[in-house]
Structures are given as structure tokens and as C-alpha cells.
Amino acid sequence: MNAELVAWAAASALFSIGTAFLLLRRQLVAMVVGIELMVNAANILIVFHAVRRADPQGLAVALLALAAAAAEVVVGFALILSMRNDENEAPESSHLRELSG
């Protein structure tokens, strides 16, 4: 078994599952979940390689990415909640169909 192979495989699988969320799931919340999965996949690789190279910069970047992802989730949910004008339905991707502005 090879550590790098495991890290790559896990990250690739997580990332593509995240993509699948984004492409296939109807609810906006689930799409955000997919994005989180993708961020995590990236973070796994960053941390793994930072450790392998003993490079503190990698860890620092991963940390910042993690914080930024959290902020992004907050904004995303705020948007989702604010677009919810129909009380009877979960917010779905098909609700965002028309550009207005």
C-alpha cells in the first residue's frame, strides 16, 4: 500500500462525489454540501503534501482555505434563506431561473 496513492484516491473520489452533488442534486443545500466536499478533498491533498515536504506554508494555506470555506458556507446559506419566498417548498436549483436586475 502506498500512502500517496491513498491520499490521491480519497481526494479524487471526494472531489468527484462533490461534483456529482453539484450536478445532480436538486436542493441548493445539497449543492453547498457538494462544494464542501470538494474543498475538503483539496485540503486533504494540501495537508498531505505539506507534511510530506515539511513545508509550513502548505498548512497555513489549508488553514486559510478552511476559514474561507466556512465564510463561503455562511454567505451561501444566507443567500439560500433569503431567496426562499415560497413557504411550502425547499429551495431548489430550479427556482433560480430568471435573471433580474
Binding site: 461534483t19 453539484l22 450536478l23 445532480l24 442534486r25 436538486r26 441548493l28 449543492m31 436549483s93 430550479s94 433560480l96 431561473r97 430568471e98
Partner: protein
Amino acid sequence: MSPLPAAALVLLAAPLAALAFGFFVTHRVRPRTTHLPILASCAAVAAASLALLGGALGGASWSGRLFTWISAAGVQVHFGLLLDPLSVSVLSMVAVVGFLIHIYAVGYMRHDAAFSRFFLYFHLFFFAMVGLLTSDNYLQLYLFWEGVGLASFLLIGFWQHKPTARAAAWKAFLTNRVGDVGFLLAILLLFRWTGTVAFADLFSNPSLLSSQKAFIVGFLLFWGACAKSAQFPLYVWLPDAMEGPTPVSALMHAATMVTAGVFLLARSYPLLERAPGLLPFIALVGAFTAVWGAVGAFFRKDIKRILAYSTVSHLGLMTLGRGGGGVFPAVFHLIVHGFFKAALFLCAGNVIHGLHDSLGGAPTATVDDAGGLRASMPMTFAAFTLGAVSLAGVPPFGGFWSKEFVLAGAFGTPALAALGLLTALGSSLYIGRMLFLTFLGRRSWQKGHAAHAHEAPPVMWVPVLLLSLGGALAGFLAAPLARLLGVEPHHASHTVTALSIASMAAGFGLAWAAADLAPGGEPAWRSRHPALLEAVESDFGWQPFCDRAAGAVAGAARFLGDIVEGSIWDPGTEDAAAAFPALSEVLGRRARGILNDYALLMTAGAAGLAILVSLCF
């Protein structure tokens, strides 16, 4: 070779100046006087060429370069004049005959509204021919060759209102172009194989061309000459070409146009000689054309058409002479023929002119319209008779001598000899028939018509008489011409002479028998064989075949221009363009504004791009 004398420059400068003056000045200011500068130019050219002829008889010949025409790498062409015995002798005939026809035209065209325009075209024709004869290389000759074609187009179609004239003009130009393509290819091949088209370079060095290459070039040149000189496959334009005014026919048949091809062959003789088998082939084509033309002439009724076919026949004789016996018989016959054919055509013009009222202004007449004109048109009758006996080869008139030389050359081959004798018989047959029907016989034209035939004014019969005298006495030119060309003429044996005289006499006899002099009546043999007459009328199907070939090309053009363009290319490109809006319509229906779809497309695109990049590197 001596440098060019002033007279040589006059040959080109005088017609050019006359044309410019006529076009810019008299044509605008006083159109009725356009003939004056042009006649002056003719006189100058005739004088200059006779002066040159005198010099040439003294053993001189001239050449000179005027300017560089085309210069691109391997193609170097200079504009120059070459006045050797050949060009000077033909030139003298052309200048003298042309001058006389010009004078005649003054009388003939006097009442035409487009008198001035006619003279400009007419002189352009003459000028192009003079240029053609004096060219010192093939490309320059080709320039004037095409110029002759252009002028013939303008003149044959001179009476633009007539559909037949327009069609004939076009036919003439087109047929000539078909021949010119061969000529042009020959010139380009000469460039490729020898690097030069100047006569002096080509002929002074026989090793420039191998015999096989000489054959190809010679054959292409002959193809070009076939069109201009109305040899068998391409003669079809000439019978129609008499749609133009009669002086045009005279000039075209005698001096300017049809002789160009014969001249080209004479000019190229050193080259043709080197090609194995080409000269016999040319002789055969010529002999065949000679008989073909004679047959055509015999059955026709239109007097100008008879003469036109007779020209075809005699051009065949010249070609036969070239193929069989070298330059001299052809050139000699060309000169003699120039005189008597011009005379005959102008006589026909006088007949048409004289019968003008009774014909109702028709531009031509048939032998049935005429008849018994000897009394009312004595001068024309005299001239015509002189021309006719000369043409038929009655000794001692001009045609007799030239035909002797041609036949002497042909007698080496039995087939050629037979065809030559047949032509001799045919010549006297058709010209005798025409002479008898037109001038002897009864006056069919008086029946039912109040008008009278009348003799032409002197301006019209004097030149004609001079021309026919020239033709009759042309036998005297044989010796000087032979000396000029530096050949020992190959005299005919007594057998040949006897045979040719016999066939000539037989021809006249048959003509007397065949021509039923009863007015207006069809001879019995004609009405008995309508199918034969029909076949001859269509030249045994050759004319309709050519028309069909032209029609097929026009049909192909319509197919491409209308159908292929209109229903393949246009819709092809326009529908291809319209496919894009249609595609966007189809794709647009897919775009329903769902976020996931956009994410899908974006991801697919990014993945595709990534794969492409990874494949490339």
C-alpha cells in the same frame, strides 16, 4: 538583313495615324469624309510596299526591332518588323488589292448611314493584316491575327440590326478563337522548348526543335491556320461571313483574313518541313477541303455564298500547294487568288447594287434573281468573265499558272492528284454555272418588277476591272516571285497540264449542261434530288453538328450557371449559414435555466479542456 527603311515604318504608321485621325476628328466632325485619310493611308501603304517590293527584287530584305513588348524571365518578346521576300510579296498583293477594294467601298457604302464607322472598321482590318504580314515573331503575329479576327467580327456584324449578321459575326469570332487556342499553345510550346518565338532565331537554327516537337508545334499552328483560312473542320464560319457588306467579303476573302492562315503556314514552312508526316497530312486536308468547297459552291444559289464556298475550295488548293510543293505554289496561288477573288466578289457586289431596287434592298442576291445581266452591266460582265476564267484556270490567265504549280506538287501522290483534278473540274463547273446563270440567260429580274438593273458608277467598276485584269495577267508574276522566294519553280509535266485543261473544259461543259437558263425555273436534276440538295445545304451534316456542339456547350453553361449555381451552391452556402440559427434554436430549448445544467456544462467543458491539454503535452 538591312535596317528598316522609312517605307517600312510607313506600313504601320500610316494606317495608325489614319485610324486615329478618322476616329477622333473626321468621325466626329464630318463623318462623310472619313474615307479621305483612310484612302490616303492605303495609298501610302501600297506605295511603300511596292517600293519595298522593288528593293526586294533587287535582293534586299529588312528587319528591325522597334521596342520590347514582354519581358519576364524566359519570355522575351520584342516588337519588330521583318520584311523578307515572303512578307513583301504577299504584302504587295494585299496592299494593292486592299487599296482597290477601299476605293470600291467608297462607292458601295456611299448611302450607308454608318459610312464613317464602316471605313474605320475596314481600315482596322487592313491595318491588322499589314501588321500580321510584317511581324517578326509569332507572338506579334498572334496580336495582329487576333486583331484581324476582331475586325472581322465588327465588319461581319456591321449591319447590326440583322440577327443573321450578329450570329455570323459571333460564329466567325468564336470559330477563330477555337483555332487561336491551338496557335497560342504552339507559341507557348515554342517558348518552352526553344526559348524564342522570333522567326529569325527559330528558322536559322534547325536543331532547336526535335522532329517530334516540331510535329506538335506544326500541328497546332496548322490548327490555328485551319480556322483563319477556313480549312475543313473549322471552315464553318466562312460561308456565313458574307453577311457583312460586300466589300468586306471581298477584302476578307481576297486579301486580309483568310490569307492569314496560308501566310502563317508559308511563314512556318521551315518548321513544318522538319515534322515528319505533317506536310502530307496538311496537303490531304487541303485537297479534301478543296473538293468539299467546290461541291458546296456548285449547289448554292446565293451568289455571295457560291463565292464563299469557292474561297474555301481555293484555300484548300493553297494548303494543298503548301503541303505538296513548298512555299512557292501556295504563295503564288494566294496572290493570284487575291486578285481574281476580289474582282469576283466586287462584281457580285455590283450585281447586288445594280439589282438593289428589284431586290427590295436585300443585301444579297441569288442566281435566280439575276440573269441576263451582260447587256445592262457590261463592265461588270467583262470583269466577272475575266475573273471567272482566271479562277477556272483557262490558259493563259493567272489561275491557270498557279493551279499548274499546285497540281505539279500534288502529282507525286495519286490521291492528291485525283482530288486536285477534281477541284479543277469543280472550279470551272461552279464558276461557269454562276457566270451563265447570272450574266447570260434571261432576265428573270424584269418579270414583275418595274425597276431596271443598271451598271455601277465608275468608282465601282474601275477597281473591279483593274483587279480582274490583275488576276488575268498574274501569270507574269510567277517568274519574279520565284526569283524573289529563291526557288526553282517545279513546272508541271505535259500530262498534268493536259489533264488539268481537260478537267477544266469538262467542268465548263457540265456547267453549261447543268445550268438551265430558263428564267426562274429549277433545272430538272435539282428538283429530282431534294435529299441531295438538303445534304449539301447542311454541308453533309457538318454545319448542324457544329451548331449542336456549340449548343451543347451553351447547355452546359446554362446547367452550371443556372442549376448548379442556383440550386446547389447558393442553397448550399445559405442553408449552411441558416443552420446556425437552427442549431441555437435546438440548443436554446435545452437551456431551461437550471443551475445544475450550467454547472454540468461548465464542468464538462473544463474536464474536456484539461484532457485536451494533457493529451497535447
